[in-house]
Symmetry: C2
């Protein structure tokens, strides 16, 4: 239960990777492209592309077009919370559905709904939890082999 979608996973992986590449000792502010991230993390390229698009639209990352283009983080890793990332990909948190509901899907139960209030508490706690953790936390303690310049290798074997 409460599974994250693959897209969400991929988003976090990508951001973690970008953070590591950008903020490691040697190569600062290097732009990484979709293909590189996908290959390094064994993620289907096209799907990752869509994920990165969404992140770019939310200005979590910045896109740079053209040859030698790609993406860079839009903020410092410590300023990118997990909550923000997940929201960008999967929409707002909704343990209790009734909270963000439009006119349709009237939630016929609302009148007698005794579980709503407690669930909202749970939801609030989870949100706080996800907001307290950032991409930086995912980078820490990870050696990670830096791939310095593999922009145009013929690695498709």
């Amino acid at each position: 239960m409460l599974k994250l979608s693959k897209k969400a996973d991929y988003a976090l992986m990508a951001l973690q990777y970008m953070g590591s590449v950008q903020f490691s000792d040697l190569t600062r502010a290097r732009v990484v492209n979709t293909k590189e991230i996908a290959e390094e993390n064994n993620i289907p390229v096209e799907l990752l592309a869509k994920v990165l698009q969404a992140l770019a639209k939310q200005e979590i990352i910045e896109s740079h077009n053209g040859p030698k283009g790609g993406y860079i983080l839009g903020h410092e890793p410590r300023d990118i919370t997990i909550a923000k990332v997940l929201e960008a990909i999967e929409g707002p948190l909704g343990i209790a559905d009734c909270y963000h509901e439009n006119d349709h899907s009237p939630c016929e139960q609302l009148e007698h709904c005794n579980i709503r209030t407690p669930l909202l508490k749970v939801q609030e706690s989870i949100y706080q939890l996800l907001s307290s953790m950032t991409i930086e936390d995912m980078m820490s303690g990870q050696p990670l082999i830096i791939v310095e310049s593999r922009k145009t290798e013929g690695v498709n074997s």
Copy 2:
């Protein structure tokens, strides 16, 4: 994101209702059947039936067959944690999929996966949160109009 399924919602509603019926002043240990719960909470009967089945199989509730049969809670409301209920309905908690994975779906990312460890921490926190809350917490402070004996009313208008 992190939405609960309708079934999970229904499970919690049903348990809350059963708890209220059983542990209110007047009528103790009354057996309630699927139809009553469904009508009282505006839940599709057949779907609720499946939910209650699952709960019964996990021994969260006890089933009693035959006329005047139905369900009663298998434990005190304070001993039924939300975590247990959700697990019964939606399977084990799996923010990070890779945690409970069989041989198939090998998670190609595992080798370089830097998000796994942090996510497990999040998951653990959430689990603790859900384990700390019980059906009793959902009953507290709820007046709730007790429906004393409506087993066989013709209420299907």
